[in-house]
């Protein structure tokens, strides 16, 4: 190798082909790398992956379960992608999800007597406002006081988690069972089940509609254009007459609101009460999804589905082969890290040149 050295140079324009190829290649490489822990777990990776994909997609029941997982993931992915578009680094989707679920559950528990067509939209609004309000705090702190939102949104997750826990272990503790969960929500606020005998609920439709709305916002509206401009260059956006501070706060509220809808879905579509373990980390997976999806609405939908398959399929692989379920997190993390390598290659060209 003597006589050569490796140079890294910035591409003048990010390669369009690579921008599409990078996530796909990263996912494939990540699955190849994840074969190492699977085989260390004593399972042939091919058998393992067969169980994973079959378990997530193989029959009607497993497919509906994958969609039930897809819904909160898609909402969190869109929530994070929208905030990241204008460089508001919201890693607080988890807390916003809990806040949305809490507020919506408070409404839904007390909504007896309202017919479903009234109760469900109001519950969605309640959840959206709950999540949005929780995201507004770090956004206002950022634009007014320049407090870094990475830390405040992250810490906010834990403040909200303990707040929910205090409420559910305290005033809301179920008097009959003693479980830390809210009373059951009113019948009329149950999300309709769209595939009988499954958990394929109305929230899946809500999440797809939100993804479509995200597409329209980004591609067709002035607000979307402004968010993209702020993400590109905040200073020149300000010079162009965009009120950067106001748009960031607005984006944070909408982002938190969408994450809040994920909380609504878990309450009204899956559990029918507010619970302390409403989310196994959907908000954090939302960051993985937003990045893998390239902050692009279509990409985010595909990435959410992939993550739903990984999470749901790993449970199936666990049941079939005994591989520990923690593998789902391992695969998610590796996918994200591989993607970061992929992003590097879309921005830089690595060459061997004669020394």
């Amino acid at each position: 190798m003597a006589g050569f050295k490796i140079t890294v140079e910035r591409r003048l324009l990010p390669s369009k082909k690579l921008e599409i190829a990078a996530p796909i290649l990263s996912i494939l490489v990540a699955l190849a790398i994840s074969a190492i822990p699977i085989s260390q777990g004593g399972v042939n990776p091919i058998t393992g992956y067969y169980e994973l994909f079959y378990g997530a997609l193989g029959n009607k029941l497993s497919l509906t379960e994958t969609f039930a997982m897809f819904s909160p993931l898609l909402l969190c992915g869109v929530a994070v992608a929208l905030a990241f578009t204008c460089k508001f680094w919201n890693i607080g989707a988890e807390g916003q999800l809990y806040c949305g679920g809490l507020v919506a559950a408070f409404f839904a528990v007390n909504a007896g007597g309202l017919p479903a067509p009234v109760a469900i939209p109001l519950m969605l609004v309640a959840g959206f406002l709950g999540g949005g309000a929780w995201a507004a705090v770090p956004a206002v702190l950022k634009v007014k006081l320049k407090v870094d939102e990475v830390v405040t949104t992250l810490l906010g997750n834990w403040v909200m988690y303990y707040l929910v826990s205090a409420i559910l272990f305290g005033p809301w503790r179920n008097p009959k069972t003693g479980w830390p969960e809210s009373p059951i929500i009113a019948d009329s606020t149950f999300y309709p089940i769209l595939v009988p005998g499954s958990r394929f609920h109305f929230g899946i439709v809500v999440s797809l509609l939100i993804a479509v709305a995200f597409y329209i916002i980004l591609k067709k509206t002035k607000w979307g254009f402004e968010l993209l401009a702020i993400g590109g260059n905040p200073a020149s956006s300000q010079a162009m007459g965009i009120s950067v501070a106001r748009q960031i706060v607005l984006a944070a509220i909408v982002s938190g609101g969408i994450a809040g809808l994920a909380g609504v879905g878990q309450v009204a579509g899956i559990h029918y009460h507010m619970k302390t373990d409403l989310s196994p980390g959907f908000g954090y997976t939302g960051v993985v999804i937003a990045m893998v999806g390239g902050l692009n609405p279509i990409g985010v939908v595909l990435a959410s589905f992939l993550m739903a398959v990984v999470v749901q399929g790993t449970q199936a692989m666990h049941r079939a082969t005994g591989v520990p379920w923690a593998l789902a997190e391992v695969i998610q993390g590796i996918i994200l890290l591989c993607l970061l390598v992929g992003i590097f290659f879309t921005k830089y060209r690595v060459r061997r040149v004669k020394a």
Binding site: L145, K146, D148, V151, L155
Partner: protein
């Protein structure tokens, strides 16, 4: 005057505050090194868990707890280097890379534990954790003796680390380089400091210390490993480093404050008071956000925090 039982209780709470502070001291000093050189290490939660897991497995397998601590440190340093590869060499966004590290390591810590240890059902496997080592004479001092001088070895080391870290950061050439890189990497580069090497070194230190903080939980505190054993302590460290203004000497006080809140909460639950203990657990995060707002007007964070450095040549 306090009655003897109250005195015993106060002593026990203070001693417990030190034990609750121990993992925070390690993790936060590590995080201070990372952030001082300009890298926010959100991988810390995962690195602590990997330290707890690796430390336990080696300690359990060999029967030598110190080998476990050593293994945790090595694993942590390697993870720190991986974090450095992403944030320094590839220039990836630090919070995204850190979150990726935490997600992968959280899963991996339990995955490795699970495939290494055959599930026999019933009581999870455990080791006899590190005991306390009374320091001759000093441990006989009333109250203080039991609080400070009758503690676990890792606590003594942690307390010594505090002035050592302050000395390294503020009195050595290496420390000056770290701070220069964290404030203005291109100026540091011009001055002949190898920005990449400093950041790699700091992240190795950060990873190693965080992992030892995690190993404290499995080897000193509980004697076993459980998934999610850290219960978010990595994030408390992220809060604490900000709360303590990136200053190692303040970290001891801050960790004792946060550890003390935890000890108080555990004691009150222990004697059967029905307190909403979650409000205590929430305190570190709330206090940090308040502190961030209070110091916002005179921002003190290392100026280059969160920005990657590329030499344009």
């Amino acid at each position: 005057m306090t009655s003897p039982t109250e005195l015993v209780m106060i002593t026990s709470i203070l001693a417990m505050a030190f034990r609750m502070a121990a993992p925070l001291i390690y993790g936060t000093i590590g995080e201070a090194f990372a952030e001082r050189c300009g890298v926010l290490n959100l991988g810390i939660e995962g690195m602590m868990l990997m330290g707890a897991s690796a430390g336990f497995l080696v300690g359990y397998g060999t029967g030598d707890l110190w080998l476990g601590v050593g293994a945790a440190a090595v694993v942590g340093m390697m993870l720190g280097l991986v974090m450095a590869f992403f944030t320094v060499t590839l220039g990836a966004q630090q919070h995204v890379a850190g979150l990726g590290m935490t997600i992968a390591c959280t899963g991996l810590s339990f995955y490795i534990y699970r495939i290494s240890i055959v599930d026999v059902g019933g009581v999870p496997p455990h080791v006899k954790p590190f005991g306390t080592i009374p320091i001759p004479y000093l441990s006989d001092i009333p109250v203080l003796g039991d609080v400070i001088f009758n503690q676990h070895a890792l606590i003594y080391i942690g307390i010594i680390l505090v002035p050592l870290a302050a000395f390294i950061l503020f009195k050595t050439r290496f420390g000056l380089s770290i701070r220069a890189v964290g404030e203005n990497p291109s100026a540091a580069d011009t001055a002949g400091i190898n920005v990449f090497r400093i950041r790699y070194l700091c992240l190795a230190i950060a990873g190693g210390l965080s992992a030892v903080g995690g190993a404290w939980l499995s080897l000193s505190q509980s004697g076993m490993f459980l998934p999610g054993l850290t219960q978010g302590r990595g994030w408390v460290c992220i809060a604490l480093v900000v709360f303590c203004n990136w200053s190692p000497l303040r970290i001891l006080g801050g960790a004792l404050l946060f550890g003390g809140i935890d000890a108080l909460q555990l004691t009150m639950q222990g004697i059967g008071w029905r307190v909403p203990y979650q409000l205590f657990l929430m305190m570190p995060y709330v206090l940090t956000i308040i502190a961030l707002v209070a110091v916002a007007r005179r921002a003190r964070a290392p100026a280059a925090l969160l920005s990657s450095y590329k030499r344009e040549d």
